[in-house]
Amino acid sequence: MRELLLCPPDYYGIEYEINPWMSVARAADTPAAQEQWQHLHATLSQLNCKVHLIAPQPRLPDMVFTANAGLTVGRKFIPSNFRHKERAGEQPFFAKWMEQHGYEVNWLPEKLYFEGEGDALFGGDVLFCGYKFRSDIQSHRALAEMLGSLAVSVELVDPRFYHLDTCFCPLPDGGAFWFPDAFDEYGQRAIREHLTDLIDVAPEEAMHFSCNAVVIEEDIVLPQGAPQLVNKLQERGYRCYQLPMTEFIKAGGACKCLTMFMPQRQALE
């Protein structure tokens, strides 16, 4: 059974601007955000998985986006080194929580920025890693060494899709759905060379954070607003759960950003 880590949105709000989606002038509606998060929590809880909760902390509004806490593989947890100081305070809470839950915490060198599962997603045995806006490419090399895996680094070129999980979502059948324009030409080619069955997401649907989806075997939990993508996924036999995520999209996040896998995959042989 998959295990997930979520953080209740008690202190969630738009208090600073660190990506093109955020505007302090366009505040999140707190009751609506609470309701959307509860909806996500309830949906995930009824799937074949166990949901853990970490206690939210005041003055860390983005702690709700647990995908950026770090990357968990097997019993190893690699905490993030956040690029923005606004989020750096989250790191000790996540590391402590994971350690208390029996994970071996492996630190990256401090000077390397890395934003966890937000920029590191396994597609089969290959760890796809996004770089430029948030994570440094050098962190990928360190990750690959720690995990003994192949890390394919792809450059993100559209600031609206600043994390890999905002434009790329691997599927358990070996394929993935993605928004190709978020990558440079080399990144697109590298992804195409390693994954054969790719579903392109239309720009208007990508803008609804459709790629920011939680995939648990045949079940896919994704934001509302991507009917074409949902059709394609359903044709392949996936069950789709389309949730309202508007209040979190205001901060540049949705279903996947609000969820971290524990672990994302088992340790590589």
Partner: protein, 409 residues
């Protein structure tokens, strides 16, 4: 060219980071040379590449390296040049680096600076405050000057042979022997000199006394009058013979027409005396004392005359530099902007000039002595033509090609 060595590590093949970095280098107008590459054998093995990146300017290189860093490129650690103080005026520290006539860079405080000027057989003095490096001769160095020692942190960029064969210097190389045909090459050379004159680049002629003695002076005069000489470098004998020929029709007493001596060395001494009495070459032309010959043509056509004397000179023509060190300085200064040099029938002067030329200067060396030509061409192996021949037929043919098709006399 400015260059920096970068290293890439990781899954640079699977991620296409290596081709991306190489493409970016080229699209930014820079070049690369892969020094080392190790490709991982197993899936999770990481790869490694060491790449030398070179760009036209230091700023362009910095800008490019900054971009490449984003893709994981790390600048390979390079060590600074080692410096030691000069122990006394005119003395370099032991193990000082001896510069060649190739473009040279030294790394000081982590940054490469170009050594200026490029000069053979010099040491390199570094001024950290001004971030400057200059080539210094023995007489230039002062006690305490910081001089580069050893080879660490020194990079030499040899002149590359052009891949496109656009001029005579690219398809003829090195030496044309005495028994080989020369007309075609002289015609090509004439074409090149036409281009040079059109581009307003500077042509220097280094002239030996044999030009006067063989009677080739008239052809050189035609080249001067047609505007193919910007600067004339010579020694005292050349100048003396030329004025003797102009004043008495002889050189060292030998008449061009009568082919035997009449008056011997007397004429030479009287000619030099006449120029000295007139107050120098320019004054002698102005006072109508000197009315023909090569130097006369130079004065009339505003060609800079650079005369440097030697130990054998009896009494030099006024204006000739007689101090050897001073002479070197004058030569270097007057050669700084020259792009083409014709070194004609003088080994001593030709060698001195060739050793002071930047490696990009194209030279033609003409001498009847094969070993003299070889020694000169050796100094400029990628940009020179040597011709083993009497200078008279060479100048005759070149002047015929370039000066208004005057008939042979």
């Amino acid at each position: 060219m400015f260059s920096e060595t970068i290293e890439l590590r990781g899954h640079i093949i699977d991620s296409l980071i290596l081709p991306k970095v190489l493409d970016q280098i080229l699209t930014h107008g820079a070049n690369f040379k892969i020094g080392e590459i190790k490709i991982g054998q197993k899936r999770a093995d990481q790869s490694f590449a060491r790449i030398e990146v070179s760009a036209q300017t230091s700023d362009a290189l910095d800008d490019l390296i900054l971009r490449l860093r984003q893709h994981g490129a790390e600048v390979a650690e390079r060590r600074d040049a080692q410096l030691a103080p000069a122990p006394a005026d005119g003395v370099f520290p032991p193990e000082f680096y001896v510069m060649t006539n190739q473009q040279t860079f030294v790394r000081v405080d982590g940054k490469e600076i170009e050594v200026r000027p490029t000069m053979m057989d010099t040491a390199i003095a570094v001024d950290r405050k001004k971030r400057a490096a200059r080539a210094v001769k023995f007489f230039d160095v002062r006690k305490g000057d910081e001089i580069v020692v050893g080879h660490q942190g020194v990079r030499v960029v040899p002149v590359q042979r052009a891949t496109s064969r656009t001029d005579v210097f690219q398809f003829i190389n090195t030496i044309v022997d005495a028994d080989e045909p020369k007309s075609a090459i002289i015609r090509e050379l004439a074409e090149e000199l036409r281009r040079v004159r059109k581009a307003k680049s500077k042509i220097a002629v280094v002239a030996g006394p044999a030009i006067v003695r063989t009677g080739a002076g008239q052809h050189l005069v035609r080249l001067i009058e047609a505007g193919y000489v910007d600067r004339l470098f010579a020694g005292n004998p050349f100048a003396s013979y030329d004025v003797e020929r102009a004043l008495f029709g002889t050189s060292l007493g030998i008449s061009l027409d009568l082919a035997f001596a009449r008056g011997g060395r007397e004429n030479l001494m009287r000619a030099v005396n006449a120029i000295r009495a007139a107050g120098g070459i320019v004054a002698a032309v102005e006072k109508n004392v000197l009315t023909n010959g090569i130097l006369h043509a130079c004065v009339r056509n505003n060609v800079d005359i650079v005369l440097v004397g030697s130990i054998r000179d009896e009494g030099s023509i006024p204006g000739a530099t007689t101090d050897a060190i001073e002479g070197q300085k004058v030569l270097r200064e007057k050669l700084a902007d020259v792009t083409h040099a014709l070194l004609l029938a003088t080994i001593r002067h030709s060698l001195a000039v060739a050793s002071m030329l930047a490696p990009t200067v194209k030279i033609v060396c003409v001498d009847i002595d094969a070993s003299a030509v070889e020694r000169v061409v050796e100094q400029q192996p990628l940009q020179s033509i040597g011709m083993i021949t009497d200078v008279e037929p060479f100048l005759l043919e070149l002047a015929d090609c370039l000066a208004d098709s005057r008939s042979r006399e």
